[in-house]
């Protein structure tokens, strides 16, 4: 995965970006660390409809954590709570020892949590390049006036970040589409851009919402490869929602199972596989 290693090579960029790279964890990171994200007794409801009831689980540093469950089990809602799209009515979320009643998207992003989306939430009007560049926005500090003049710091900054994004583009093997509006790309590639946008944030925790939904086998394999690379090259912690049991069981360290907004199982793939509740839920449904 030479592309990936390339990503970590130090970049000739201004202060904060540089710092961010130094902060990137060491290579020998592929051993599970201690709890980084801890979700306690989350409950969420829309009007009368209960989406989540009293969900608790935790995520350890550097691991790949899967959330599975039938349609409408509340998987996406869970992620939405974690990065502050929805505000749960009860429960709390602890991230790196800080506990929050509910999260605010901006904070979450600043704390290094990135996210991809189930039904692509790309910026359709923008090119692949710009979409991924938005991932760098948090790190771009030059003010309106410099940007308007596009001179001095603004330009240097722009170029520095452009270089970083180019590495991501290489990594995801989408060089050819740099300047194409994402709207025109095939589904599989859009998924990659979505991932690329998340990676551009240099996240420590990466939330993936069905990264392989609607892909053919090859595409799935590519996607798996990317995910594993990211996890094991920079030890990025990964929380992933997936339908494809095969994939989940192969790549994830621990699995949470949701059904109708309740947690019905939690543990290693094997434990989960043998859990009667889970089997019932899945046999009960179309899987």
């Amino acid at each position: 995965m030479t592309n990936a290693t390339a990503l970590r090579a130090p970049l000739p960029v201004p202060g904060d970006v540089q710092a961010a790279n130094d902060a990137a964890p060491p290579v020998s990171s592929r051993k599970i660390g201690d709890i980084i994200l801890d979700v306690q007794n989350i409950s969420l409801a829309f009007g009368g409809v209960k989406a989540l009831t009293d969900i608790s689980f935790n995520v350890r540093e550097h691991e790949i954590r899967a959330i599975i469950g039938p349609n409408g089990a509340g998987k996406s809602s869970m992620l939405n709570c974690i990065n502050g799209v929805y505000q749960p009515q009860q429960g709390s979320i602890t991230f790196r020892g800080k506990t929050f009643k509910h999260m605010n998207s901006r904070q979450v992003a600043e704390m290094g949590v990135a996210r991809t989306f189930q039904n692509l939430a790309l910026f359709k009007g923008m090119s692949v390049l710009d979409n991924i560049m938005t991932g760098r926005n948090l790190r771009m500090k030059s003010n309106l006036f410099w940007q308007a003049l596009r001179w001095g710091p603004a330009e240097r900054e722009e170029i520095a970040h452009r270089e970083f994004v180019e590495r991501i583009i290489d990594f995801l093997e989408i060089q050819a589409y740099r300047k194409t509006p994402v709207g025109r790309l095939p589904y599989g590639l859009q998924k990659r851009v979505d991932l690329g946008r998340a990676l551009a944030m240099e996240p420590q925790v990466l939330l993936l919402d069905e990264p392989m939904a609607g892909m053919n086998v090859e595409e799935k394999q590519d996607m798996c490869r990317f995910i594993l690379d990211v996890n094991d090259e920079f030890g990025t912690t990964i929380v992933l929602i997936e339908h494809d049991m095969g994939v989940v069981m192969d790549i994830s360290d621990r699995v949470v199972v949701l059904d109708y907004g309740k947690k019905i199982g939690d543990g290693t793939p094997d434990e989960v596989r043998s859990n009667p509740e889970v089997i019932k839920a899945y046999l009960g449904t179309s899987h």
Binding site: V85, F117, L122, M133, E158
Partner: protein
């Protein structure tokens, strides 16, 4: 054959990030500006300047501003006229109240005041979306119409509530002939177009477009809607405000709130839509279309009538003009909902491939 980008290799990101990566484009645009600045003044008639070119320039500036808000940030505003009015009246007050205030300074201060008001009326956009917001911005429109009639301080207590400005002086340059006025406006337009282009291709521009295309995703990657939207309102209303000031100072010379009525707001929105949402170039196309078309129809119809030997009454002309104007707008929306700018880029793509079909 001449319009090709192959053979032009970008050796640095800097080069790759230019406004016009293709050298022919750069050439073309420089040529265009040169023509506008040198050739046009030499040939255009006074009528062209006063009735078409100057209004065109000023309104394309306003459309440019509006396009940042509507086209790039996706916040539909029907209150543009109000922000133009604020710009105009603010500039007027700086001019008459501050002794020896330089013209350009008061114009820009007009923009600044418009910015303040724009941000104020932008705040609801944080909660109100889409058409609701569009209609809500009409509050700004009607309030401004009222305020500039009622609060006599704004009009320096002129009994009629109509204000007028004296001769224009900028950097010791006396701007009074049509040509000078035209060049004066051109200056503003070129500079602002450049700045605007820079903004929309920088971080802030990406934030605006992100909010426009998918606000939830945008906030998840750490873009604050409040910041993105309000900056869009600020930048937009600044440009619009300056345009308003120019409209009052350079084009009309004397004006009343009616000069910035709701019709103006609609007119500008038309320019942005017909020209192309999210396209600097489009703002100019749109302005040209909306400014020239009615005047053209209004003059061409009688001429056409006399050709076929019947004299059309003034009223009939005006009515037919309305109908054709409305019809054409619908027609354009149907054949190219993405505006003239899209046609332009399609044309360019074709040209790039030419003479090969694919």
């Amino acid at each position: 054959m001449l319009y090709r980008e192959n053979g032009q290799f970008k050796t640095s990101y800097q080069a790759d990030q230019q406004i016009f990566p293709i050298s022919q484009d750069r050439l073309a645009i420089l040529l265009l500006i040169a023509v506008a600045a040198i050739v046009v003044p030499a040939f255009a008639s006074e009528y062209m300047f006063r009735a078409i070119l100057i209004p065109f320039l000023i309104l394309s500036l306003a459309a440019l501003g509006l396009n940042i808000l509507v086209g790039y940030c996706g916040q539909v505003s029907l209150g543009t006229g109000a922000f133009m009015a604020v710009g105009a009246y603010a500039a007027y007050n700086f001019q008459v109240r501050v002794e020896g205030m330089p013209l350009v300074a008061s114009l820009l201060m007009g923009g600044v005041c418009a910015t303040a008001v724009g941000v104020l009326f932008g705040i609801p956009s944080l909660r109100i979306k889409g058409l609701y917001l569009a209609v809500a911005t009409l509050a700004a429109q009607f309030f401004a119409d009222w305020a500039f009639l009622r609060i006599s301080w704004f009009t320096n207590h002129s009994p009629s509530g109509s204000v007028s400005v004296g001769s224009l002086q900028a950097f010791g340059w006396r701007v009074d002939t049509p040509v000078e006025k035209y060049l004066f406006c051109l200056m503003f337009v070129v500079v602002f177009a450049l700045l605007a282009k820079n903004l929309v291709r920088s971080a802030i521009g990406r934030e605006w477009m992100a909010i426009r295309d998918m606000d939830v995703a945008a906030s998840v990657i750490g873009i604050r809607p409040i910041y993105a939207k309000l900056t869009a309102f600020a930048v937009s209303s600044f440009i619009v405000g300056v345009a308003g000031a120019l409209w009052g100072f350079v084009h009309l010379g004397s004006w009343e709130p009616a000069a910035f009525s709701i019709d103006r707001s609609f007119q500008l929105l038309f320019m942005v839509i017909i020209g192309g949402l999210g396209s600097i170039m489009g703002s100019f196309f749109g302005a040209a279309f909306i400014v020239v078309l009615p005047i053209f129809l209004n003059q061409a119809l009688p001429a056409f009538g006399s050709l076929v030997g019947l004299s059309i009454s003034t009223a009939a002309v005006a009515h037919t003009e309305l109908m054709i104007f409305g019809g054409l707008i619908v027609f354009f929306l149907i054949v190219e909902p993405h505006g003239l700018a899209r046609l332009w880029s399609i044309g360019k793509e074709k040209l790039r491939l030419w003479p090969f079909p694919h």
